[in-house]
Every structure is written in C-alpha cells, then in structure tokens.
C-alpha cells in the first residue's frame, strides 16, 4: 500500500531544500556586513567588496541547485 506516492519529478522540492542553506548564508553575510559597517562606517569600501564576494560565493550554491533541478 502506498501511503504517500509522488508522481513526476521532485527536483523542485530538492531545489527548495537546497535554497534553505543559501538563504541562511546570504542573510548572515548581509546581516553581519551591515553590523560591521555600522560599527566602523569608514571601512565601508572594503567591507562592501567583501560582502558581495561572499554573497556571490554563497549564492553560487543556490544557483547550482537551480541548474541541477532542471538538468537532472
């Protein structure tokens, strides 16, 4: 007896799960970045650069998940 049967592809569910991690990571990066800028506004330039580098690196995971959801 099937208690819960799923038809078709569950790739999008997997993508949704993979995005949780990336969401937490992006939130942490920007939250911590805002804190750092608030504590030391004169260091805004290099901090902003590093915020966006970290954001790009973390969001890469979400994007890889998005691609795999369609590719596999």
């Amino acid at each position: 007896m099937d208690i819960a049967a799923i038809e078709g592809s569950i790739n999008s569910v997997g993508y949704g799960i993979s995005v949780i991690g990336a969401g937490i990571g992006v939130g942490l990066v920007f939250g911590m970045g805002m804190q750092a800028i608030a504590r030391q506004p004169e260091a805004r330039g290099p901090l902003q650069t590093n915020i966006f580098l970290g954001f790009a690196l973390i969001e890469a995971l979400a994007i890889l998940g998005f691609v795999l959801a369609f590719a596999i």
Partner: protein
C-alpha cells in the same frame, strides 16, 4: 513541450468552473517551453533562427545606443539638464560600482561598466511588457556577457601581472602557511576559473527565468480561474479568485522591476570585482 503550452490556458472555454454544456479542462501551467518561442525564420545553421529573443536583443541594443548618444550629444563644460542626468548615471556607476571595488585605477573601465549596466537593464526590462520575455531569460545572452568578462579578466590580469604571475596570485594567495595550500589551491582554482564565470552567467539567467515564469503563472492562472460562463454563485467566486491572482501579479510585477534593477547592478558589480583581482596582485 512546445511554445503552445503558454497559449493553452488562454483558450476559450477552458476555465475552472465550466459553464453549461462545456467540458471542463485541467489547468496547464506555463512551462519551460515558453522560453523557446517559435522562430519566425528558422533553418539558419548553428542558430535558433530569427525569433523573439533576437528582435528584443536588437531593440535593447538600439535603445541603449540611442540613450547614450542622446546623453552625450553636444557636450558642454557646464552641463545642461540632459547632460546632467547622463553624468548622474555615470557618477552612480563610478561611485557605487567601480570606485569601491577597483579604486581610482579602475576609472578606465567606467565606460565599459556603464555600457554593460545599461544594456543588461534594457535586456531585462523587455520582460515587463506582457507577452514578451526578458532577453536574459535565455542562457546564451548572459553566458556571452560572462564569457566576455572572464576573457577580459584573463587578458587584463596577464598584462598587469604576467602570465604565470596572474595564475599564481589567483591560486596561491600569499601570506599563508605552506601546508594550507594543499587545501586552498584546488578550491581557489575551481572557484576562480570555473565557478565564478559559470555562476556569473547563471545568476542573471536564473533570476530572469524564474521571475518571468512566476509572472506567467499568475497571469494564466488568473485567466483560467475567471469563469464568467458558470452559474452566478460560482462566477462570483471565480471573479474573487482571479482578482486575487491579479493582485499577486501586480505585486510581483513591482517586485520584478526591483529584481531587474538589482540583478543588472550585481552583474556589473561582480564584473568589476573580478576585474579588480586582475588589476592588483593580492589583498
């Protein structure tokens, strides 16, 4: 799945509550097929033919060329109103994108970054017209942008730091204890030469793709639920349903405008961040 799927929900008689003597039919959500429109002139070897994307690309290209040639017509030392607005945009690119990432030595890239920002913005905004698609929702266009930026970083880096010097600075970041390099070098090599250019293209593509799919689901879902031919009670209910879908559509439309601006900004910002790695050896 062909491009027909996007028109299926708009067929007459295909509604949530079928009227008298009509056969009900299921909702066919807009699918990935909506991103491969039928070419008007196919059969060109090595391409998809002349389709909606190519026309929209040419329109976006022409619009950005026209905009900037209009801004830079009859330049004066004391800017008039038109020139002032143009200078405001350039100053925005300089103060928000190139100066924070590359510093004053990146000023020679301001024209390039302005061009990329404007072109990507126009290529995104074409998706706001109902029935059209954002040009960047086809992977080939952002991929060419990212490939161009990747090749540019390689060329600039190798001219500034020498061929091997550039690669060494990228994959052996200085100032680390020797054993750490066993861990760091593969990660850095993979990140700089593979993941960076790939995600640079895919970020723009994925947000445009997902955004316009979302808008299409709201639009076709709203039309599908609007069944005026049914009994009065059900028809009233269906108007409520599709009104909710319309509100959702409008909200996400505004959200999409924001996303399009932000993605054009982030693409340009990351491009100048990656160029910064080529301009200076290490930080």
């Amino acid at each position: 799945m062909s491009a027909d799927a996007r028109f299926l929900a708009a067929e007459p008689g295909c509604h949530l509550f079928p009227g008298e003597g009509e056969a009900g039919c299921g909702f066919e959500a807009p699918s990935v097929g909506m991103f491969s429109p039928e070419p008007w002139l196919g059969g060109i070897p090595g391409s998809d033919g002349i389709d909606l994307y190519l026309v929209l690309l040419l329109v976006a290209l022409g619009a950005s060329l026209l905009l900037w040639s209009w801004f830079s017509k009859k330049l004066n030392l004391v800017p008039g109103r038109r020139q002032g607005v143009g200078e405001m945009f350039v100053l925005f690119i300089r103060d928000q994108i190139t100066r924070p990432t590359m510093g004053a030595k990146g000023d020679k890239f301001i024209p390039l970054m302005t061009a990329i920002f404007t072109l990507i913005l126009f290529m995104n905004v074409s998706g706001l017209i109902p029935g059209m698609l954002p040009v960047n929702s086809d992977l080939s266009f952002p991929a060419m942008f990212a490939l161009f930026i990747f090749v540019l970083t390689l060329v600039v880096g190798m001219r500034q730091q020498g061929g091997w010097g550039y690669i060494r600075n990228q994959i052996f970041p200085p100032g680390m204890p020797k054993p750490i390099y066993i861990l760091v070098t593969p990660i850095e090599a993979l990140s700089v030469f593979l993941i960076r250019p790939l995600t640079h293209a895919l970020r723009l593509f994925a947000t445009m793709f997902a955004g316009s799919l979302l808008l299409a689901v709201f639009a076709y879902g709203g039309w599908y639920m609007l069944s005026l031919g049914a009994e009065p009670a059900l028809a009233g209910l269906s108007v409520l349903f599709s009104g909710a879908a319309l509100i959702g559509y409008l909200l996400f439309f505004l959200f999409e405008i924001l996303i399009m601006l932000v993605q054009a900004f982030i693409f340009t910002l990351l491009a100048s961040l990656y160029l910064n790695g080529s301009l200076e050896s290490a930080h």
